[in-house]
Symmetry: C2
Subunit: 342 residues, 2 copies
DNA sequence: TCATGTTAAGGAAACGTTTCCACAAAAAGC
DNA sequence: GCTTTTTGTGGAAACGTTTCCTTAACATGA
């Protein structure tokens, strides 16, 4: 059994409130008393009980990150950075993972009431039609990598990229190289307001702008994983529609797609060009290295945390920050139908 | 402000303890009263405050996972499965990430006192010479993927593979193919009691058994990431020691190594054989697919959680479970110096 | 009828904090 | 030398639960 504040007070021969004042650096305490208390704290290894603290405190200091899709390497890096940033500010931080299929914002509401949070960051998931739920949350909340478009923007913050614009950029790049049979792969491309859908809309917009007819047969719905990208690409190739380029809405998908292409005996980029999305390390170290739309993961993480703290301390009102992603060319895309000359 | 148990009691016209009995399903409550309380709970969306609960409760129900190295994809999958398993049992679950460089068990001690945990799972990190700290933890604790060898085994549990044995297996496989200049890459191979060290010892054992002299120049210390594996392999190749096979103590490293080999214009496996460790998805979808020692991640996760619950409920004493890993051959290893005939 | 047991429900203490309030002693202002 | 302020400290209420203890009503068995 560990010591509590009462024990410390008794041992140090002071009142409970004095101990509290010392460990919280509040109020006035004489140097002598402070030193006495601190030495007892040190000696008996006293750590304040957070449950009691949070229970009493009007406002807690607990910050949570709610993530859906923890297996996506793009997310793990952001998680790490967010953790670091929150830690730097000395706030208790915990990560919660919600399973695919469960509603993340319902889970968050429960969490806020249970754990007395003072701020929450969301990563992954979908949040439209959640206006009432956001209001119920009633604490500062920042959405990263996704936004809720049909929700009153003054009740939440977001730090994102413009998925539609960036997907448009990727597709436009393929078109500029001369491709017209461009496949698209994402999770739930037809489900309104998902990330996959926004990227799909960017893809469509680029096609339309260049008067390339949209062929639904070239769009595959798949999970954000290599295995899923692999099977989606096999299905696609089997359709025999003469695809010359693949735009995968995630690097994990792109890697599975590349494997399917290479396994089929085709060459990248001579037979098929591939571009991914996110900018994970593996896309760079794949062979061939894969072109991608690289998100500024670190900036997003940094900005999310600093925005959240500004909201918590009342130094800012809700806002929506949009970062630019960068098209990184590594050679997995080229003109169609022209074998590379060595 | 959300409703509390007192509000519910008042609105339902019953006592506080009755509400508590209803929501916890303890003691005797008449059907009529129960229904009345539940309808109020439903209507006012009452969620018990966990801080108060934990504060009062002799034994909490909080379970934490402490992970070091969240960016390793091998870990993310295990995290997901552990989360699922704990959730299934209805216990609150939180994930904590400790940064490289911080002591995970010190962080855990603080956490246990702060959050009133009833059980903890460790993933990654090192735990030797922590006997006193384990005792201080004083709650059931399960180490996954790593064990503390110099600590009294009765004060903690572990669910692991035998790193030395499996690394021996990998090295032996390369030797059996005819390789003698076998490089080894891991994180901290010379730092006692790390995972990297155990795998290094397995590598050494296999070499010794086959009377292959150990060449320290063939061992590279690197992080568990593709970029780190890439630069380590460049260093290695630049030494010009005629390496024909590479054993990377992690698939992430193996992928970086493969890229370095391919970038140097060499072929896998014709010029250099590569075998990794862990069994992550990316190793399979790399091109060429990489051989690996595949850990039974799911079984480890399942077994860790079920063991932890047995410990919490007193149905078991501390034990140490060792799973077997599997050598998966995908073609990235072959005899040295014999170009493949097509 | 009376003792006993069972079912149902409420009151109140306790968990470990923070914080408001009270109070004493010392310092300061006149 | 008196009031007023400042400094330093302790007591106790409150946070929202759980749980032990008590009480009350009612049924049971002799």
């Amino acid at each position: 059994m560990s010591v509590n504040i009462k024990d410390v007070a008794r041992i140090a021969g002071v009142g409970i409130s004095t101990v509290s004042r010392v460990i919280n650096n509040t109020g006035i305490v004489s140097k002598a008393t402070r030193d006495k208390v601190l030495s007892v704290v040190e000696q008996y290894n006293y750590v304040p009980n957070n449950n009691a603290r949070n229970l009493k405190a009007t406002q807690s200091r607990n910050i949570a990150l709610m993530v859906k899709g923890i297996t996506n390497p793009f997310f793990s890096n952001m998680i790490k950075e967010i953790e670091r940033q929150v830690d730097l500010r000395g706030y208790p931080f915990m990560i919660y993972h919600v399973e695919d299929g469960t509603n993340e914002i319902n889970a968050a509401i429960q969490l806020v009431q249970e754990k007395n949070l003072c701020g929450i960051i969301f990563m992954g998931g979908t949040y439209d039609h959640s206006e009432e739920k956001f209001r119920r949350l009633n604490i500062p909340c920042v959405l990263t990598t996704i936004t809720a478009q049909e929700v009153d923007p003054s009740i939440f913050s977001s730090v994102i990229i413009d998925d539609l614009k960036e997907a448009y950029k990727a597709t436009k790049y393929l078109i500029s190289l001369g491709h017209t049979a461009i496949a698209f792969m994402a999770k739930s491309p037809f489900l309104n307001e998902t990330t996959g859908n926004r990227r799909f809309l960017g893809y469509i917009k680029a096609l339309e702008e260049s008067s390339i007819p949209y062929d639904p047969q070239l769009v595959e719905d798949c999970e954000y994983s290599a295995s899923s990208g692999f099977s989606a690409t096999r299905r696609l190739l089997n359709k025999g529609r003469g695809v010359t380029a693949l735009f995968a809405a995630a690097d994990t998908i792109a890697i599975g797609a590349a494997k399917a292409v290479l396994t089929a005996g085709l060459s990248i980029p001579d037979d098929i060009s591939i571009i991914g999305f996110d900018g994970i390390e593996m896309a760079e170290y794949y062979h061939p290295s894969l072109d991608t739309i690289s998100q500024p993961a670190n900036e997003i993480a940094l900005s999310s945390v600093s925005l959240l703290f500004d909201l918590i301390t009342g130094q800012s009102v809700n806002q929506h920050i949009v970062f630019d992603a960068v098209l990184i060319k590594r050679g997995s895309c080229k003109n169609p139908g022209m074998k590379r000359v060595f």
